[in-house]
């Protein structure tokens, strides 16, 4: 097991937050100074999901997005590549782009008309020569660019740290799992309309759960499963046997985690209750994945996952990002994604299934929200911040040095999520790119 992290940041001792064996100080979810440091050390140098490429089908299209708590503009530039920059005019700070989505080749600030191109480069200042009488250096005074952009299976990621590893390196040994979750024949497309919520809970409640927590399902979602069973006597989406689930938990030393179904019949039972959907997922789609990634594709059917720090997904048709909004709230954006080549009937079925289960009003989603919000609210007390949370599930079993694959529920993934978090939180930014 990794060494415990002992560094101090500010007056906060990480040892007080995260103990070796698996306990976690609840102040990590409420402390304003921890939250402030996260902006620099987590969100300032991690790969963060911005949007789906299908929103930017041609040059001149743009969307606005959010990286941690910072607003950015994401564009398809004239050379067909995607660029992103901070949505803040360098003159007095008004947003450069006021719209959430649209078509534009340049962006003019509403205050004094500074104009930036689709890469955020300062193009012009009205009457600059006569008014400024001093050189306004384009390199100094362009919008802050997001220096690193990568696209993988349609998902557009950005990173503020010029020295960061590549996205593939960042994903590390979890890369295959990422690919199996998001690759599809012909790629994917996102539905129009980002489902956004401001939820009164720290972002880590969401990210950690999506990484690792398959064992809350039978409890938290009991009413949802019963409801589906009641209206569908043949039983769709029944919960697995909690003690012997056909599932494996993946956990990575880089903080990523996933629960996947590890055999085909179980996956068919889980995802293929609707035969139209099953035919696609386990027919053309699986054929494509097997041809590309080999036979192992028949043993990895992703269910829930989080790629560190905050890109969560519920396979096979949703991806979401858990952005902080102060220490006690998260702002989370969820995209519905469907396989581009899937028949329309499959796309419709997936959309309808998603809204009923994990949409903003989904019968599963609402109970997750409830738990997170109530846990956060409880932390407004004082006694409630004095004793650690328990993250010990599965501590007794051997833990691999590298990628972990747990055949039964365990919190090893949560421990790794928090340890990765502590590693970044205690490493100074100046130390160069982090691994």
């Amino acid at each position: 097991m990794d060494q415990p992290t002992a560094a101090l940041f500010g007056s906060l001792d990480v040892d007080a937050l995260l103990h070796e064996r698996g306990t976690l100080d609840p102040r990590a979810y409420v402390d304003p100074s921890i939250h402030a440091l996260e902006q620099e050390r987590i969100f300032g140098r991690s790969w963060l999901l911005l949007t789906h490429e299908s929103y930017l089908p041609e040059p001149g299209r743009f969307v606005t997005a959010r990286m941690g708590e910072d607003p950015v503009v994401v564009t398809r530039t004239d050379d067909g590549t995607i660029a992103a920059f901070l949505n803040q005019c360098r003159h007095r700070g008004v947003p450069i782009c006021r719209h959430e989505t649209g078509r534009a080749r340049s962006f003019t600030c509403s205050y004094h008309g500074w104009t930036y191109n689709a890469r955020g480069r300062l193009l012009s200042i009205p009457n600059e020569a006569r008014l400024f009488r001093c050189p306004i250096d384009r390199d100094d005074w362009s919008a802050t660019p997001v220096p690193r952009i990568e696209i993988r299976h349609g998902l557009v990621f950005g990173c503020w740290d010029p020295q960061a590893p590549t996205l593939a390196e960042w994903l590390g040994d979890a890369l295959l799992y990422f690919d199996l979750a998001f690759d599809a024949p012909g790629g994917t497309e996102a539905l129009v309309g980002v489902s956004r919520r401001r939820v009164a809970a720290n972002w880590k409640f969401g990210a950690e759960q999506f990484s690792t927590d398959g064992f809350h399902v039978s409890f938290t979602h009991a009413s949802g499963f019963a409801a589906l069973a009641a209206v569908n006597p043949q039983g769709d989406a029944a919960p697995f046997d909690v003690l012997n689930p056909p599932m494996t938990q993946m956990h990575s030393r880089y903080g990523h985690g996933m629960g996947f179904v590890h055999d085909l019949p179980a996956a068919r039972a889980q995802f293929g209750a609707n035969p139209i959907v099953g035919e696609w997922l386990f027919g053309p789609r699986l054929d494509y994945l097997v041809s590309k990634y080999g036979e192992q594709a028949r043993e990895i059917f992703p269910l829930h996952m989080n790629f560190f720090p905050n890109t969560g997904s519920l396979w096979p048709n949703e991806v979401r990002v858990f952005n902080p909004s102060g220490p006690t709230h998260m702002e989370f954006w969820s995209w519905l994604i469907v396989d581009r080549q899937a028949p329309d009937a499959v796309k419709i079925a997936m959309r309808q299934d998603q809204q009923r289960t994990f949409g903003a009003a989904g019968i599963f989603e609402v109970d997750d929200m409830h738990n997170w919000v109530e846990a956060q609210r409880t932390l407004t007390g004082w006694q409630t911040r004095q004793r650690p949370f328990n993250v010990e599930m599965g501590t007794g079993s051997a833990e691999p040095a590298e990628l972990g694959l747990e055949p039964v529920p365990s919190e090893a993934g949560a421990r790794r999520f928090h340890r990765r978090w502590a590693q970044l939180m205690t490493t100074e930014r100046e130390a160069g790119g982090i691994r």
Partner: protein
């Protein structure tokens, strides 16, 4: 004033009847009578709430493509929701929030043969955990049908005036 009625003149009896129907429906939701509420829906009910998009700026064309949905239910979908709300394990709703629906600006137009097209606004006040107050507003377009001497909802399309949902968890029916 005996001047002739304007284009805004309506049949007051029909107007009052539809309003009473909508008030009755709202009260069933506020009082937690979800099964009774469900009985006001036709078997072929279409119940939808698209994800709210930003209002379009002057001169912008809407972005093409399929809309994401907060709700897109048929009768079976609503039955599932109502079943869950009746469960002791529906954590977000046990204890239930206090809710109060004010239905306003009801506008009725005749629809196809047996149906009415009814638009209305709503203000929904929600209190959870004794002190978490949320307020939602929006507008709805319903298709009502006369069924066996009474009225039923055959279609409801709700526009919620929040792009960023603040009233979480969004476990209410609309």
């Amino acid at each position: 004033m005996n001047t002739p009625r304007s284009p805004f003149a309506v049949d007051p009896a029909l107007q009052a009847e539809i309003e009473q129907f909508l008030y009755h429906e709202a009260a069933l939701l506020d009082e937690g009578c979800f099964e009774q509420w469900l009985s006001l829906m036709t078997p072929d009910i279409e119940y939808r709430m698209p994800v709210t998009q930003p209002a379009l700026a002057r001169g912008q064309r809407p972005i093409e493509g399929t809309r994401a949905m907060h709700f897109e239910d048929d009768h079976r979908g609503l039955r599932a929701r109502v079943h869950r709300l009746g469960s002791k394990a529906a954590w977000s709703d046990q204890p239930p929030p206090l809710t109060r629906r004010s239905i306003t600006n009801v506008r009725v137009e005749p629809g196809d043969d047996n149906s009415l097209r009814v638009r209305s606004n709503f203000v929904l006040y929600i209190v959870r955990r004794s002190a978490q107050v949320d307020l939602l507003a929006g507008t709805r377009e319903d298709t009502l049908r006369r069924v066996e001497g009474s009225l039923a909802i055959a279609r409801r399309s709700t526009h919620l005036d929040q792009q960023m949902i603040l009233a979480n968890p969004l476990s209410m029916l609309f």
